[in-house]
């Protein structure tokens, strides 16, 4: 059975729990990506950030991204989670995990999913800085 899952989460993400459904005896490789809230961006000191999400469309797009990755890279399973609301420094904003028979597939699948999430998912990020006005930042390759 292939696991194909995209979720939005209001609460902190726990990778050890999220990856559990991917256990699969035919899988030789598991690759995960975590996006962490950094303390800096474009030379400014980041204090916190906020994600605002268009839920219905984000879930549709997210599931489409994960399903495409599974098909294109012959994955045995793929799961992605994206946080929304207010996040603190060091929080996991996004978690992606994929499994495959071999490592190249899992690396390519995980990279594809996070690339697409960054530029295609209808979710917006507002960064709060020390000594500068909060700003909506965005992916330069915005597309759909």
């Amino acid at each position: 059975m292939t696991i194909c899952q995209f979720s939005l989460a209001a609460e902190p993400l726990h990778p050890a729990v999220l990856s559990r459904p991917l256990a699969h005896l035919a899988a030789g490789a598991f690759v995960s990506f975590e996006g962490w809230v950094r303390n800096h961006n474009a030379g400014k000191t980041v204090l916190a950030l906020e994600y605002e999400v268009y839920t219905t469309l984000a879930l549709k797009e997210g599931e489409r991204i994960v399903a495409t990755a599974i098909e294109r890279f012959d994955l045995l399973g793929a799961i992605a989670y994206h946080r929304y609301g207010t996040l603190q420094l060091g929080d996991i904003a996004v978690w992606v995990g994929t499994t495959a028979a071999h490592r190249r597939q899992a690396f390519a699948g995980t990279a594809y999913i996070i690339d697409e999430i960054k530029c295609r998912l209808p979710i917006w990020k507002k960064e709060y800085y020390a000594g500068a006005p909060a700003t909506w930042v965005y992916c330069r390759e915005h597309r759909h």
Partner: protein, 86 residues
Amino acid sequence: MSAPNSPKIIHLRYFALLREQAHTESEERPTTAGTYAELYQELQRCYGFSLPLGQMKVAVNDTFVDLSTPVQEGDDVVFIPPVAGG
């Protein structure tokens, strides 16, 4: 059903910068705009949206559509400013 140029009522939702500049999360709005591109320009004039049309996408009834698509009565419309997942 409606005569040419008679207003259509649509439902709009606003996110992120558009929400902040419109000072609202949603509204019912009558419009005579023919396409979503024209609708965005109308909203720009109304709310002073700073983002140019060229940076905008639009979703109608939770599906991405082309900005040149004709506006339909009763549509649920969301303009999508540049996104930033991850």
